[in-house]
Amino acid sequence: MSDNVYGDIVTNGLWTNNQALVALLGLCPLLAVSSTAINGLGLGVATMATLTLTNLIVASIRRWILQEIRIPMFVIIIACVVTAIELLMNAHLHDLYRVLGIFVPLIVTNCAIIGRAEAFASKNNVVRSTLDGLVMGLGFALVLVFLGIIREILGYGTIFRGAELMLGPWASDLTITLASNYDGLLLAILPPGAFMALAVIIALKNKIDRVQQRRSANAVSVAVPLQSSRA
């Protein structure tokens, strides 16, 4: 049974309740920063770290947080973590930090983070909450990177441009140029392109879900007695 709980947390975070695709939380950074894969990865990792740490902290002190002032407490915790991460990025990934600009401190306002603190970390133990923060952040980061890849291919005709911002000078070789003589679809880099690409990804996810549902519906007709006995 306990295996199942952790498995549920993982599938929830990565797929069923993906913060970007299902809950549609934190769209502001998602849409603003995902113009390239590396930008998306940078902000995605920062968000993931924040989410993991805040869930960890909130879960470990949840017994001492007064119910009436829990939201301000969460905000203070999140703000402290984000400030620490921002200073770390400024020190170690300065170029990327300059590209992401205001969106790193704005992680504070990402509703996915306070949402997980309120909905999960304040009600579950430390291990589960930390795992939840990690996979929720991972799900968010994966969408951010995927969106970044789509927009970058359409907008610049490359993948992983500017990788050196994150990984150091050697990583400039990582940039894959798909079309060297490409004018670029400016729309993909502008905000409307982000909305369209996100809509396409959500539609794709819903389609996959529906196909799976149809398949499992076919399977259920055989497994009905088993399910009813479990209930």
Binding site: D183, L185, L186, L187, L190, P192, M196
Partner: protein
């Protein structure tokens, strides 16, 4: 609907209706023909090639989307709406373009702006203008290079040479693309006013003609005739065209009256750019325009005012597309608040 066998199981009253979508769209196409022919004569073959490219690809995308969505192919594919969209989109684009720009425009118009929103009758934005706006934002360079009127060009291209440019991006010999293009009157006006020239001096440039832009004024006059024919045939009502032209004319007239050195005279605004095409063909789109008489007048006034504002203070030389799209956003509100009183309704609470 009259030309569709599958809807013949009608109930009373048996009043024949001649206004099927197909019939309306055919008449709109007829009304556009004189302007398009003049455009071709005065500006070269590019417009014809673009219309063919855009129409064929629009029909193709329409067919694909109808098949994907499981809709009856025959009924929707040949109602002409895709072709009208393609022609209007093409008329908004510069005539000398690489082939993929009109095709991509058709994709955005038919697939994104029309079918993703639910198909004919459900699209909240004018598909042609939506596609044009997307292209303009995405490819600002290609969409700002307009072929000049043939009178002003030393060596006009033949049909084959134009086709060669469209498909392979090749010009004959050592010809530079710049020798084929000219600033549009509104573009020229905009940059020169920005440089501090007076409008009177600017409009003496060869690119300006009698009423508006050299050449384009006759194309627009032909569109005006076609539009008046549509009015006469009762395909469109008078509200939107009159409101659009009246607001552009009166606002630009007032501005010209107040400061003729900075603002162009009303005829440049009316016969330049896409004002007439917009008033009769674009803003009158039955799906995305307001449907009540008062709503249509407000809609038209808004388009005219926004067009003038974007031309004068905005970031682009012409503002018709953005004006139509912006007013398209307001249409549900306009329709909600301008519902005409039903005959016999009690007046004391009729306005709630």
């Amino acid at each position: 609907m009259s030309d569709n066998a599958s809807t013949s199981q009608a109930t009373s009253p048996f009043v024949p209706s001649s206004t099927s979508v197909g019939a309306v769209m055919r008449k709109v196409i007829y009304a556009l023909i004189p302007g398009v022919v003049l455009y071709m004569i005065l500006f070269g073959w590019g417009i014809v090639i673009n219309i063919i490219l855009a129409s064929v690809s629009a029909l193709l995308f329409e067919a694909i989307m109808l098949m994907v969505r499981g809709r009856p192919l025959r009924m929707f594919l040949f109602d002409g709406s895709a072709v009208v969209t393609a022609i209007l989109l093409t008329l908004a684009l510069p005539p000398m373009l690489s082939w993929w720009i009109p095709v991509l425009g058709s994709f955005f118009a038919i697939v994104v702006a029309k079918h993703l929103y639910g198909g004919l009758g459900y699209n909240p934005f004018n598909p042609a203008m939506m596609a044009y706006a997307i292209l303009l934002v995405s490819f600002p360079l290609q969409l700002s290079l307009w072929a000049g009127p043939l009178d002003l060009i030393a060596q006009p291209l033949t049909f084959v040479e134009t086709l060669n440019y469209s498909l392979f991006h090749q010009l004959p010999g050592a010809m530079a693309f710049d020798s084929l293009t000219a600033a549009t009157p509104l573009d020229y006006l905009r940059t020169q006013v920005g440089l501090g020239q007076t409008v009177e001096a600017i409009t003496r440039a060869p690119i300006f003609g009698l009423l508006g832009g050299q050449g384009m004024e006759w194309v627009n006059s032909a569109f005006l005739l076609g539009g008046l024919w549509l009015l006469y045939m009762r395909i469109i009502s008078w509200h939107i065209p009159v409101a659009v032209l009246a607001s552009i004319g009166s606002i630009s007239g007032l501005a010209y009256f107040l400061d003729p050195a900075v603002f162009a005279n009303p005829s440049v605004h009316l016969w330049g750019g896409a004002s007439i095409l917009c008033a009769f063909f674009i803003a009158t789109d039955p799906i995305t325009a307001s449907t009540t008489p008062l709503g249509r007048i407000i809609y038209g006034l808004g388009i005219g005012g926004l067009t003038f504002a974007i031309r004068t203070w905005g970031g682009y030389p012409d503002g018709v597309a953005f004006a139509v799209l912006l007013m398209g956003l307001v249409v549900p509100l306009l329709d909600h608040y301008t519902v005409p009183k039903v005959f016999g309704a009690r007046t004391d609470r009729g306005n709630q």
